[in-house]
Symmetry: C2
Subunit: 234 residues, 2 copies
């Protein structure tokens, strides 16, 4: 049975890393002693070790040990032997490139589809979607493919941002960008605002958290979905 949380952000404004997610993590990782941390997205270029330490500190209140996947000579084997996973945010191009080049994308998908708990935040949530083509990140590296795990039958746009009123800036809004995506593909997109996350339990997919999500379906007007409602997209 799938057991997954895909969160828009790791951190809310003015709060500590992962603190708003602790109750959700406690439930998701119930009974887990050790979480494998996937640090490849490297926000701000932080080292794999430093990023893993940051995650370990955030998991300490749950008495769960955190080990960085980069520490294993065979990360594929480590995923197969692991109990549960957390992929942190950062740059999605970097994360996806690394997962493909180390041939880990399919291994991780297989383990998570077979029921091992998975937490993603931001870039780590993007890879739960069908592909990474609705990321906000800069293409700082060239991945061999944009395909991701497809744990849910749609794409995510984490850190979804509404147009800012009275801003005289002419760059595309997030909504415009997602609509441009739909000129190329029909995959639905969930614009996930900070403070909300997607909860997957078996075949049930629910929007949770404090804020509504903006849903983009091909050839339909975008609409709002309130939290604590099922996400019925395919």
């Amino acid at each position: 049975m799938k057991n997954i949380v895909l969160a828009s952000t790791s951190t809310l404004h003015g709060e500590e890393y992962l603190s708003y997610l602790l109750p959700v993590m406690k439930e998701l990782f119930g009974g887990v002693r050790e979480v494998l941390f996937i640090p490849y997205a490297r926000p701000g270029g932080i080292s794999h070790d430093d990023y893993t330490e940051r995650a370990a500190a955030a998991f300490a209140p749950l008495h769960i040990k955190v080990t960085g996947l980069h520490r294993f000579p065979s990360p594929a084997e480590a995923l197969q032997n692991g109990e549960a996973f957390f992929t942190g945010g950062g740059n999605t191009f970097l994360l996806v490139k690394q997962l493909h080049e180390l041939a880990l994308m399919d291994v991780l998908r297989h383990e998570v589809e077979n029921g091992k708990p998975y937490l993603g935040t931001s870039a780590g949530s993007n890879i739960g979607g069908c592909n990474m083509q609705t990321t906000n990140d800069m293409p700082i590296v060239y991945p061999p493919s944009f395909e991701t795990m497809g744990l849910v039958p749609f794409n995510l746009n984490p850190h979804y941002l509404d147009p800012i009123p009275d801003l005289p800036h002419m760059g595309e809004t997030r909504e415009t960008r997602i609509r441009e995506f739909h000129t190329q593909q029909q995959t639905p997109v969930v614009g996930l605002r900070e403070g909300s996350w997607i909860r997957v339990k078996g075949s049930e997919i629910t929007l949770e958290g404090t804020r509504s999500a903006r849903i983009f379906e091909h050839d339909k007007a975008p609409y709002e979905l309130s939290p604590w409602h099922p996400i019925a997209l395919s």
Copy 2:
């Protein structure tokens, strides 16, 4: 002698398409009767024909005819026979994919390096840089390469946006994204605010327009460059 304008945006807030650039276009395209328009970036998914009409209307006051490159059976030959070029904004991934797949990137570079006037706005300016890896756009398609024309020895970040004060949003700022780029590559980046453009005349490269640019060099603190100053980066 190179004769190039790379503008941050086609349109200023509340103004008509290209209107603020008309004086610059008049000089850049002096003596030109026909401009070839490269419509592949397709903002909002607009058709090649409609996008070309929009460009043609904007060029009308200069009495310059605009023809869409998509209209030619051999666009490579059309570039070789063309007098001058304009690449409009939209999605940089789409533009770069098309230019590579039609084997036009090198042809266009060759013609522009040999002195044919070139105007780019937004995505059309991105392709004047060394690569497209500091674009703001969504990866809605997968290009065969991120390489671009390298008409200038740096990258551009069009529509450069300063952090918005008091915004409780936790997504990366533009500056954070460009610094992440520099964890992977040393290519300098010019953060080009709306209202400014880069003017290339032979080997002289100047920042022009109404606003300063933010310059990002590898391993240096970012700094401001005032308009009407040379850009000395390599």
